[in-house]
């Protein structure tokens, strides 16, 4: 007897109803479900009595690639309904898709994503024909909203149309060939009893065709073996509607699980009113006014839209459109999220954000206590034993010693996974002193096991899980550059300086959103240090850090060009950001392929632009000079000779290229013109007393960049210029008694203390 093929969209209540009805009517011998075939021996684990949603989590890792994939199941998933309905009629369930570790699924993190998304042309045309915004609205319009009469035929026609126009890629073809083997075997084994096949609708036309070939054998197909040296497996993990809704791009499936859960339980009409209620409740919780008049208007508009669009009851977007029309009375900054697909954009109207949250729902699944534990739990126990860390109490580690470094890395990996009972009291810190030892505090904690089970979703081994957690922290970062540097530092501490490829894009995105030069420059300097030097943590020349260096240099230059303003006290943050870029160009430029030309052009523009603050102008000049471009600092100094400008300009210059001051021999008649020192000497000597006092604080700051030995050289040159023969060192000595200085310092400290005590100044700043 030929098999019955039910092509579904994953997570569609309408399809789930169809699956239930088909199985109940046919009472098949076998129900074949698109799912990881490696889980076939453990189908019973799924039926232990979990609270949905749950997911089958599969992981794979070998030397070259690593991936984690989820097959999420909720109450209205056609796959889940197939499992339970099969159990009721006594049919045997078989998962028939390739395991997640197979190369055909290498780039998939959501097995139940919409396959047809990758073949978008037909969908675009259908959307145009039915005048809807996107595939989700189209789906509601065609399948979720109308009666179930003829649903199977409509679904088949829809997927035939989409599949008819698309050539499936190699990966899909491999999966379909494998699934078809299962179908043929099942049909052969079932004899004259029916077989029901539940797969993604996109695969249905191909499966129908492939399964028509006669079976060569009646045996079940073999499970593709894991390659040698690779790790892989599948476990059940608790899942949540939020995560289900968070897949993006090609990984995304049907959105709005909270809403469709209601559709499944209560039907379309109640789901619509439930959606309105939960949006209103959320808004009122947030102290937003939602008047009865608004609700009436929303309902009227939703009803009108449903009639216009030919729906029996208001569908998802009818309700949302009605609510938006009634509740939003100003211009939106971003398009409504349900008219596009993808994540919420920043700047989305708060009312709309609440609507999307109401659609998502906040149901969280829970595993039955008898479920087997994820491998991470065992791996962590083994790792702790191997490194003799299964102890409690304080622990001191010497990072320069090999066994202690490995132990520190294990503890750091636990720390980034947020496992309780592991606390670091001191150790190397981002931007802090280069410590070589660490102090830890290990304590037993009741929550450790549950935290480990949850962290199990990140990966099967401690290394994988920590890597995945770090990856997530980078990709979840929205523009906090300090936090980004901290993650990369954590990665170095974990001994995992090379995060995944996709992290590099996330770094570039995050850096691209940074808007403050100071923190960005600081992060660049720190990371450049890690990249250049850190052999202790093994992060030298790590490509992940390289990615940050590359994007941060571009971003610093971009931000630097946007700064305008008159004379102002030098901003050391932005000056050191330019210095960090210069260092990156000097030390990493060649290896990372950084462009030199554009930065130099920019520096040239900044240096001569009078609307740029003086410190930045000076820094730009120093930038060019220290990269070996010829310039005329003495001429530029004459241009910046105003008392309120000079010191700040010099601060910028000296921060990047203080050697300029001591260049040249200072002899009169030098063909290169007077030296910078000569120009400065001349300028300062001709200042009136008032001008000098105006210029003094900034000048002090500028000359603070010179170490004592170079100050002495400056002093000698000045004496030479005047033809005075005396000790240069004497000029640097303070001529007041040391006791007086000590008294002054003490007085200052007392004033600070008083001010801090009264809350008038920040304690840390005064320190």
């Amino acid at each position: 007897m030929p098999a019955t093929f039910v092509g579904v969209r994953h997570h569609s209540p309408a399809c789930a109803r169809l699956v239930a009805a088909t199985i109940a009517a046919q009472r098949p011998a076998y129900v074949l479900v698109e799912g990881p075939a490696d889980f076939n021996g453990r189908v019973n684990e799924l039926l232990l009595g979990h609270e949905l949603p749950i997911a089958i989590f599969s992981y794979y890792r070998d030397g070259k690639r690593a991936n984690a994939a989820w097959s999420p199941l909720c109450a209205y998933s056609p796959e889940w309904v197939a499992l339970t309905a099969a159990q009721q009629v006594g049919a045997e369930v078989k998962f028939i898709d390739l395991p997640a570790w197979h190369s055909a699924l290498a780039d998939r993190s959501n097995r139940y994503a919409d396959a047809e998304q990758r073949y978008a042309d037909a969908i675009d045309r259908l959307c145009r024909t039915f005048a809807v915004d996107n595939v989700d609205t189209l789906w509601d319009h065609l399948f979720e909203v109308p009666d179930d009469d003829g649903l199977a035929e409509r679904l088949a026609a829809y997927f035939d149309l989409i599949r008819g126009e698309a050539d499936a890629d190699e990966n899909d073809r491999a999966r379909e060939a494998y699934m078809a083997e299962w179908v043929r075997a099942a049909v052969a084994q079932a004899g004259d009893r029916p077989v029901v096949v539940v797969t993604g609708g996109f695969h249905r036309p191909a499966l129908v065709r492939l399964a028509a070939d006669p079976a060569s054998t009646v045996d079940w197909p073999a499970l593709p073996a894991l390659p040698d040296g690779a790790l892989g497996g599948s476990y059940l993990v608790p899942y949540s509607f939020k995560r289900l809704d968070a897949f993006d791009g090609y990984q995304s499936g049907m959105p709005s699980p909270g809403y469709y859960q209601r559709v499944w339980q209560d039907g379309l009409e109640k789901a619509a009113s439930g959606l309105v209620e939960s949006v209103v409740a959320r808004l009122r919780n947030r102290k937003q006014v939602v008047s009865t008049a608004d609700l009436i208007a929303a309902r009227a508009t939703a009803g009108g839209l449903a009639r216009l669009r030919g729906h029996r009851h208001p569908a998802r977007t009818d309700v949302l459109d009605g609510l938006v029309a009634a509740l939003v009375s100003n211009a939106l900054d971003t398009p409504l999220p349900w008219t596009t697909r993808g994540h919420l954009a920043t700047g989305t109207e708060p009312v709309v954000v609440e609507m999307v949250a109401a659609l998502s729902g906040d149901q969280v699944g829970r595993l039955h206590p008898d479920s087997p534990l994820p491998p991470l739990v065992h791996d962590v126990t083994a790792e702790l034993e191997r490194h003799r860390l299964d102890v409690t109490g304080p622990l001191q580690l010497e990072l320069t010693a090999e066994p202690d470094l490995a132990r520190s890395q294990v503890l750091h990996r636990l720390r980034v996974l947020g496992i309780p009972g592991v606390r670091r009291d001191s150790g190397p810190d981002l931007g802090g002193a280069p410590l070589l030892d660490e102090r830890w505090q290990l304590s037993p904690d009741a929550d450790r096991l549950s935290a480990l089970i949850e962290a199990g979703a990140y990966g099967a081994t401690l290394v994988d899980a920590a890597l995945a957690a770090l990856d997530e922290r980078v990709t979840g970062n929205d523009g906090d550059i300090g936090a980004l540097a901290a993650v990369l530092f954590d990665a170095a501490l974990c001994g995992l300086p090379d995060l995944s490829e996709k992290v590099r894009d996330a770094i570039a995105r995050c850096v691209g959103r940074a808007s403050e030069l100071g923190p960005l420059g600081q992060a660049l300097a720190t990371v450049l240090g890690l990249w250049r030097h850190d052999r202790l943590l093994g992060s030298a020349h790590s490509p992940t850090l390289g990615a940050l260096i590359t994007s941060a240099t571009t971003r610093v230059l971009w931000l630097a060009e946007g700064i305008h303003g008159g004379p102002a006290p030098a901003n050391l943050g932005r000056v050191s950001a330019l210095a960090a870029v210069r260092d990156a160009l000097l030390h990493a430029g060649q290896e990372l392929g950084l462009d030199r030309e554009a930065p130099l052009a920019l520096a040239h523009r900044l240096a001569v632009d009078q609307t740029v603050p003086p410190d930045l102008r000076g820094a730009a000049l120093g930038f060019a000079l220290s990269l070996g471009v010829a310039g005329e600092p003495s001429a530029a100094a004459r241009g910046a000779a105003r008392p309120e400008v000079l010191g700040d300009w010099l601060t910028g210059l000296f921060a990047l290229a203080r050697e300029t001051l001591l260049a040249g021999d200072g002899e009169a008649g030098d063909p290169a013109g007077p030296t910078l020192l000569a120009v400065l000497d001349e300028t300062i000597s001709t200042m009136t007393e008032h001008d000098f006092l105006v210029a003094l604080p900034a000048l002090r700051q500028a000359f603070g960049f010179f170490p004592p030995r170079e100050r002495e050289t400056i002093a000698r040159r000045l004496l030479d210029r005047r033809g005075v023969r005396a000790s240069a060192r004497d000029l640097l000595r303070v001529s007041v008694a040391p006791e007086l200085l000590a008294q002054a310092a003490e007085l200052e400290a007392r004033v600070d203390e008083l001010l801090a005590g009264e809350g008038l100044i920040d304690v840390e700043k005064s320190a």
């Binding site: 009108g304 029309a325 211009a331």
Partner: protein, 362 residues
């Protein structure tokens, strides 16, 4: 009226044929006072290939749905968005579809007065005969209410607040009093089919804020720039080709050059490059309409200066005038874009674009 003499005939003349066909085949229920059913009105605007109805507005179909349903209720429709997002075109199409007449238009501005909204007088007749329906000169609101038609109020936020407020009672009570007349003629009650479509620029918010009372009487719909690159490129190509043909240029614009132009506009508009890097958005509007006019200018330069279709270098020359206007900061942003973002893109046209960066003045 013979339309081929008009520079820009109104929609009801341009699409008279389509409207007639839609009306003939329209079987849906019409809201009272409407010339078309909601469904036919929707097809008139977003097109219907089978019935040979052209697509007149590029954007989310759900926007049209919401707009039509709003107009069928007692609330007015407020179209807001950046300049150049085809708000006025949409309001013209909606009025045409619903009332068959898009000419009841009030153009808002600092000098708009109540007279231009409600009614004024023919003073010669007023002096000769006294106030009467003969000496009354109806303005769009009066006509719209009396005839049951949709009235368009363009750029409502450019009007002074007190003028905006004169709309309040008209919208809530749906009656316009003409106290100078007596008897039944002194009250003009709105007939079925009357409603108001207002448009407002989000960039003009600073000119005049809208009162909360007026806001309550409107449903807001934000019109966004076209989100799909290909659609925007196609639109710019077809519009620019039509403009160039009208200016006597016989070479169509080169697709590569337009691609550079549209990408540049989209990236400067959104502040995000296709590689995901963020940058400062321009303070000037980078609308599709502006892109069309730049494409037009590029084509003109290429043809009349050198006898060819225009090059990426022409875009650079034109950008200073359109993108930066006279804003020095925007000019700097454009320069940074040319210098730092453009080299990351691949293709000879982008290289030419980058090479021409020095043509940017200043």
């Amino acid at each position: 009226m013979t339309d081929h003499k008009l520079q820009r005939p109104p929609a009801e003349i341009r699409f008279a044929d389509e409207l007639a066909r839609l009306r003939e085949t329209d079987t849906g229920a019409r809201p009272p006072g409407w010339q078309l059913s909601l469904d036919a009105a929707r097809r008139f605007i977003i097109g219907d290939q089978k019935a040979d109805i052209s697509r007149k507005f590029v954007g989310d179909p759900s926007l049209i749905d919401r707009a039509l349903v709003t107009l069928a209720t007692s609330r007015g429709l407020m179209l807001v968005g950046e300049p150049g997002t085809a708000k006025s075109l949409l309001s013209e199409l909606l009025a045409t579809a619903i009332s068959g007449d898009s000419t009841l238009t009030i153009q808002g501005g600092a000098a708009t007065t109540e007279d231009q909204i409600k009614y004024s007088w023919n003073y010669a007749l007023l002096v000769a005969e006294g106030p009467s329906t003969r000496s009354l000169v109806p303005a769009p609101m009066l006509r719209g209410m009396a005839e049951g038609k949709v009235v368009r109020f363009e750029e409502i936020t450019r009007c002074p607040l007190e003028v905006q407020d004169s709309m309040l009672s008209l919208l809530s009570d749906r009656v316009l009093a003409v106290p100078e007349l007596t008897g039944a003629e002194s009250m003009v009650f709105a007939r079925e089919g009357f409603n108001v479509i207002a448009t407002a620029n989000t960039r003009d918010r600073g000119v005049n804020e809208m009162s909360a009372a007026l806001k309550r009487r409107f449903n807001f719909e934000t019109v966004f720039p076209i989100s799909d690159f290909t659609i925007e490129l196609d639109l710019v190509e077809s519009e620019a080709s039509a403009l160039l043909a009208r200016s006597g240029v016989t070479t169509p614009p080169s697709r590569d050059v337009l691609e550079v132009l549209v990408t540049t506009f989209r990236e400067l508009r959104s502040g995000v490059t296709e590689h995901g890097a963020t940058m400062d958005r321009l303070s000037t509007v980078m609308s599709t309409a502006e892109a069309v006019s730049v494409a037009h200018a590029v084509g003109l330069r290429g043809w009349f200066l050198r006898g060819e279709a225009g090059t990426p270098a022409d875009i650079v020359e034109c950008l200073a005038g359109t993108a930066a206007k006279d804003n020095a900061e925007d000019l700097a942003r454009v320069r940074r874009y040319l210098e730092q973002q453009v080299p990351k893109k691949k293709g000879p046209q982008w290289r030419a674009f980058h090479a021409a960066r020095h043509a940017l003045p200043g």
